[in-house]
């Protein structure tokens, strides 16, 4: 009798376990595909950054989604600088031309205030996506997904600054010996503070006669403003006084950053002030510089991953494959520079279909394939991406690369996000270009602060204080 009961109980448990397994086996991508089949024949339009980024929906995810669901995806390619404007213009026009959107997380607050983004919580619950969202790395999930308590976008790109250094140069025994003899301490590989960074960069440049230079960065204001935001906070700077909303970007920390930048330029290649993404990339891949900071694709391309692709023919062939180390930038708090979240347009006429598409794109399984596309620019952003054995086998140093990205996804710092953020950023960009024109750092930053105060006044001090308060309260607004 006992045996019979035991058998019956065991059979019952096995049955329940089987159902549970079957239910949990249905991942978010499968759920999205199944649900989307009822929209077969529909066309949806998604806004995507022009260039390499959009090869993902054009060559991979768009055609695959159509094959799986019968929903055709039209991709509207828009340059980054125009994405915000186009999205807002379309929303104001109410044409319903866009269904799904790629938005830079720091814009989300502005777009939500304008009513341009659809709240996603009801869909997330309806299509059982909440559990898979937990797999998104904390820094993105906790900071780039919600406005207030509402989900408006799925973080979809692990854009974080990574510190790249040449292991063969910094690890060269001759250089290490000479460094210690001159500076009195062991050459740090990699440098952990900005002082160490400057010591190493200048020493390598002097020691090698500029072959290679110790370091180089993109100094063009468009990119420089991200680097300023990071380093300013690492040096202890705060953007505003939270009580008065007076800009404090002209504090001692700000001036220190500007002055340090100028001093460091002396140890970098001539003309570095005008370098952008490509100039810096070309120099690093050619082996002309020993250290740099940039977005994750530098690391993949330096290892030679994907550079055989036709779409990446413009990327110079790496002469430093296997020689690159990956780390957090000095100070340990990399900027989460830009990035993208997937959202649904509030004026879309196919909201459900658009939502299902972005859930499928963002899901664990689909996103793992997308971040490995050799030609696309989506960077790993899920815990499961960092742990993926498939990704870790892509090149010998891929585990170290993914470890650096994962570390950045814990301590990274958010882009400043306020009402009309671009106006503040524009003032900062102008300030950086004036720095390279030779003006006094303190004077520049005083002007930037004055411009910021004027913008705050125009926006409305109380509204902006509230917006800043919400942003500053996020876990990764300032180093903790």
């Amino acid at each position: 009798m006992n045996r019979r009961r035991m058998l019956r109980t065991t059979a019952g448990i096995a049955l329940v376990a089987g159902f549970a397994t079957a239910a949990s086996a249905q991942q978010a991508d499968d759920i999205a595909v199944e649900a989307a089949k009822r929209y077969r024949g529909t066309e949806i339009t998604i806004v995507w950054e022009a260039g390499l980024q959009s090869l993902d929906p054009l060559n991979f995810s768009g055609p695959l989604w159509e094959k799986l669901t019968g929903i055709k995806v039209n991709v509207i390619e828009v340059p980054t600088a125009e994405m915000f404007t186009k999205i807002l213009q379309e929303h104001r026009a109410g044409s319903g031309a866009y269904d799904a959107l790629n938005v830079i997380p720091s814009w989300m607050a502005d777009l939500v205030r304008a009513g341009a983004l659809e709240p996603l919580d009801p869909y997330v619950d309806k299509y059982g996506y909440r559990e898979e969202l937990e797999d998104i790395a904390p820094v993105y999930r906790d900071n780039q997904m919600k406005v207030g308590d509402t989900i408006y976008g799925f973080p979809d790109d692990g854009d974080v600054f990574v510190f790249y250094y040449r292991k063969d140069v910094l690890g060269d025994p001759d250089i290490q010996r000479a460094f210690k003899a001159k500076l009195g301490y062991d050459l740090p590989v990699p440098p952990k503070t900005w002082k160490e960074f400057r010591d190493v960069a200048c020493f390598v440049t002097q020691h090698t006669g500029g072959k290679p230079y110790g370091a180089a960065f993109f100094r063009e204001a468009v990119y420089g403003q991200f680097m300023f935001q990071e380093r300013f906070r690492v040096e202890g700077g705060r953007f505003f006084d939270p009580d008065t909303m007076k800009a404090t970007v002209n504090s001692e920390a700000g001036v220190r950053v500007f002055e340090a930048w100028r001093e460091e330029n002396a140890c970098m290649p001539p003309g570095v002030e005008s370098w952008g993404f490509v100039e810096n990339l070309a120099a690093f891949l050619a082996g002309d510089t020993a250290m740099t900071i940039s977005w994750p694709p530098y690391g993949r391309w330096a290892a030679g991953y994907g550079t055989e692709e036709q779409a990446l023919a413009w990327v110079p062939k790496s002469k430093i494959a296997g020689k690159v180390g990956y780390a957090l930038p000095p100070g340990g708090h990399p900027q989460l520079a830009a990035g993208f979240s997937l959202a649904v347009s509030a004026s879309s006429r196919h909201k459900e279909a658009a939502y299902l598409f972005i859930q499928w794109l963002n899901s664990k399984d689909t996103s793992l394939k997308r971040v490995q596309l050799p030609y696309a620019l989506r960077d790993p952003f899920r815990t499961s991406h960092f742990a993926s054995a498939e990704y870790q086998a892509k090149w010998p140093d891929a585990p170290a690369y993914l470890a650096a990205l994962q570390a950045g996804a814990v301590t990274g710092l958010l882009d400043l996000s306020l009402i009309q953020t671009d106006k503040y950023e524009e003032a900062l960009r102008q300030g950086i270009s004036r720095l390279w024109a030779g003006e006094d750092p303190k004077r520049i930053l005083d002007d930037v602060a004055a411009q910021w105060d004027a913008i705050t006044e125009r926006v409305g001090l109380d509204r902006q204080r509230e917006a800043y308060g919400q942003w500053a309260a996020k876990p990764n607004a300032y180093p903790r």
Binding site: A81, E82, T85, L88, R92, D110, R113, A114, A221, P269, P270, G271, E273, S274, W275, E279, A282, A283, I419, Q420, D422, K423, E426, Q430, G431, S433, R434, W436, A437, G438, E439, V459
Partner: protein, 310 residues
């Protein structure tokens, strides 16, 4: 009589004091025929202007969409906007240098190629090439030419002085204007040249020969015969280029994006930043209205001055 008429020798009949008015149906038919064209012109030309004017009295920006009438608030802000005044100054500075240089170079080239020269058609075709390039492409090409790492300009200058030179053409305040002017003049001098060459080619050779018989030298002929003969063409060429230079955007955007700071920001770049990056719709509309008024004034004065309006 018929023969006389055919031969054109018959006395002309006196024209009636006033032609009889066509019947109303015919008149209405004529009006009806032009209605589509006039509607299109009004819609394409006038509607945006009126709409811009309307928006300039409202308060539409990134944050709010207040379409109530707010009077001259945007215009008052514009008057106090130092950055707008600076942008105007930069625009006029570029215009003040580029326009005469393009005119002089274009004229010299036209005078040179007015004569019969071997390979003249090839020279003209080559000279015209920059005009057919899109300005943003020309600007990007010059950015590359001026680039410190990859560009040939610094390389050539380094060879000339015998040591490596680092001139940051798009960064340093001393060089940004020369860089912009070189690119702008390179692209648009051929346009001036083409118009002036067409004008000079149409000058009656008898006038030149008469002046030569009177003992006039080459410079006198150019100044006293050729230039006065092409005055209307000269005026049109200057007017077109002045308007183009007032709207200058592409080359400056490609080279400096208005920097360093706002040092090379033109009115068009400022309007673009305000309207398309910062979404200050009403304020940008006010700025556009002021620019239209300024340009209309400029055109009217120029036309009156050269008497083309007649």
């Amino acid at each position: 009589m018929i023969r006389d008429r055919l031969a054109g020798t018959a006395p002309r009949e006196a024209a009636p004091a006033s032609a009889p008015r066509p019947p109303w149906r015919e008149r209405w038919f004529r009006y009806l025929m032009v209605v589509p064209a006039v509607t299109v012109i009004l819609f394409v030309g006038l509607f945006p202007l009126v709409y811009t004017l309307l928006v300039s009295f409202q308060r539409i920006d990134l944050v709010e969409e207040d379409t109530r009438f707010h009077g001259l608030v945007n215009y008052a802000r514009l008057l106090a906007d130092e950055r707008f005044r600076e942008a105007l100054g930069h625009t006029f500075l570029i215009m003040g240098i580029a326009l005469p240089v393009e005119l002089i170079l274009g004229l010299l080239l036209a005078l040179l190629l007015l004569e019969r020269l071997p390979g003249k058609p090839i020279f003209i075709a080559l000279l015209v090439l920059p005009v057919v390039i899109s300005p943003i492409v020309a600007g990007s090409a010059w950015r590359l030419l001026f680039d410190n790492r990859f560009g040939p300009v610094n390389q050539i200058l380094s060879w000339m002085v015998g040591e490596p030179l680092t001139i940051l053409w798009t960064v340093h305040p001393r060089y940004v204007y020369p860089a912009i002017l070189v690119a702008e003049i390179w692209q648009w001098t051929p346009f001036m040249f083409l118009l002036l060459l067409a004008g000079l080619s149409a000058v009656d050779r008898a006038l030149v020969e008469a002046a030569q018989l009177d003992g006039a030298g080459y410079v006198t002929i150019v100044l006293r015969v050729l230039l006065p003969s092409i005055r209307p063409i000269l005026a049109v060429a200057l007017l077109i280029r002045a308007l183009d230079l007032f709207r200058l955007f592409d080359v400056v955007w490609a080279l400096t994006r208005g920097g360093p700071g706002t040092m090379t920001e033109t009115v068009s770049i400022y309007a673009y930043i305000l309207g398309f990056q910062q979404f200050e719709t009403s304020y940008t509309a006010a700025l556009a209205v002021v620019i239209v008024l300024l340009l209309s004034l400029l055109v009217m004065l120029a036309l009156r001055r050269v008497e083309i309006a007649r």
